[in-house]
């Protein structure tokens, strides 16, 4: 079986990071452009999907354009020994689309747990946050709600090596 070299993998990544060709045989189109074989590309894509290097393959939606106009980042200051437990609980809440731990940057930034809530409007998102506070008993936790009011850029990540 043919395996792609590291260099060929980089080239493939660069070629698809802005999307697959919208042609009848997109992998054959890529194969032509990159001087690789179509089966080798499909095999590589399969491997990347299996190992989670590619999280999903499909239409990548701009949430703003499909009615999710209120996007709030809710940040919390959770004691270090509790943050992972809470994160694992919050991940299952239907309103939360993203949930991460990030470092505090004291004194400017005391927050270590980040949740993203995408909703149709601001009032609804605020309601959901209140509900989350009640459900997880976070009344006494220092937090902040940062609505996004303008989107300047949204594209896919650029992973190709810059020379």
């Amino acid at each position: 079986m043919s395996h792609l070299t590291q260099q060929q993998q980089e080239a493939l990544k660069a070629a698809i990071q802005d999307g697959l060709p919208l042609t009848s045989q997109p992998y054959a189109t890529l194969a032509n452009a990159l001087n690789l074989s179509e089966p080798a590309i499909i095999k590589q894509m399969n491997a990347w999907l299996k190992e989670g290097y590619i999280k999903r393959l499909g239409l990548v939606v701009r949430h703003h354009a499909v009615g999710y106009r209120a996007n709030a980042m809710v940040v919390w200051n959770i004691p270090d020994q509790q943050v992972d437990t809470l994160g694992e609980q919050l991940r299952n809440h239907p309103a939360i689309t993203l949930c991460y731990r990030r470092p505090r940057r004291l004194p400017d930034w005391p927050y270590n747990l980040f949740c993203m809530i995408h909703g149709k409007d601001r009032a609804l998102v605020l309601q959901q946050i209140e509900q989350i506070i009640q459900q997880f008993r976070l009344q006494d936790v220092n937090h902040a709600v940062l609505f996004s009011n303008r989107q300047f850029k949204q594209t896919g990540g650029r992973y190709a090596r810059v020379s």
Binding site: K13, I16, Q17, D18, G19, L20, L22, S24, Q25, P26, Y27, I42, N46, W48, G52, Y53, I54, K55, R56, L57, G58, L59, V60, V61, R62, H63, A65, V66, G67, N71, M73, L90, R91, T97, L98, C99, Y100, R101, R102, P103, R105, D108, W109, K120, A144, L146, S148, N149, R150, Q151, F152, K153, Q154, T155, G156, G157, R158, Y159, R161, V162
Partner: protein, 151 residues
């Protein structure tokens, strides 16, 4: 206006695009439409800015280095600084948010050294308070949207 086919594609194919030599023909057969229409629809959705692309979403951490950056920009300079930040290919998301740290952007690069180089340039050029907030742990990072069609 969103066509029925556009809605079906958005509902069914935010993940799981068939990984075959002819994915669009496979989808067309599944949906009982023509391959030509399945290929034309994402083009239209891209022009309408509903989607950015049909393709892979990489795991930021497995695919390279990435971080979230927050910057405190004087409000009257926000648009100018946002435009400057957008010029970097390494910047893929860039939002204004309601906070003293009012500009939030994601930087991705092939590795940590290239990432740091971009951050250093931005820090020096802008000279504004900046927080570098790399992800330490992901609890939930699956951002695909259920679409509730209203019209």
């Amino acid at each position: 206006m969103m066509t029925t086919l556009a809605r079906q594609l958005l509902d069914l194919y935010q993940r799981g695009l068939p990984l075959s030599p002819t994915p669009y023909a496979d989808m067309a057969e599944e949906l009982g439409v023509s391959e030509t229409d399945v290929i034309a629809t994402p083009r239209q959705l891209r022009e309408q800015k509903v989607i950015t692309r049909v393709g892979p979403v990489f795991d930021h951490h497995k695919a390279g280095a990435s971080t979230l950056v927050a910057m405190a920009v004087p409000p009257e300079r926000l648009t100018g600084i946002a435009d400057y930040i957008n010029q970097f290919d390494a910047v893929n998301h860039n939002y204004a948010r309601e906070h003293d740290f009012n500009l939030w952007f994601v930087v991705t690069a092939a590795d940590q050294a290239q990432l740091n180089a971009v951050l250093d340039t931005i820090r020096q050029e802008c000279g504004m308070p900046m927080l570098n907030l790399p992800m330490e742990q992901a609890y939930h990072i699956d951002l695909s949207f259920k679409l509730a069609w209203q019209d």
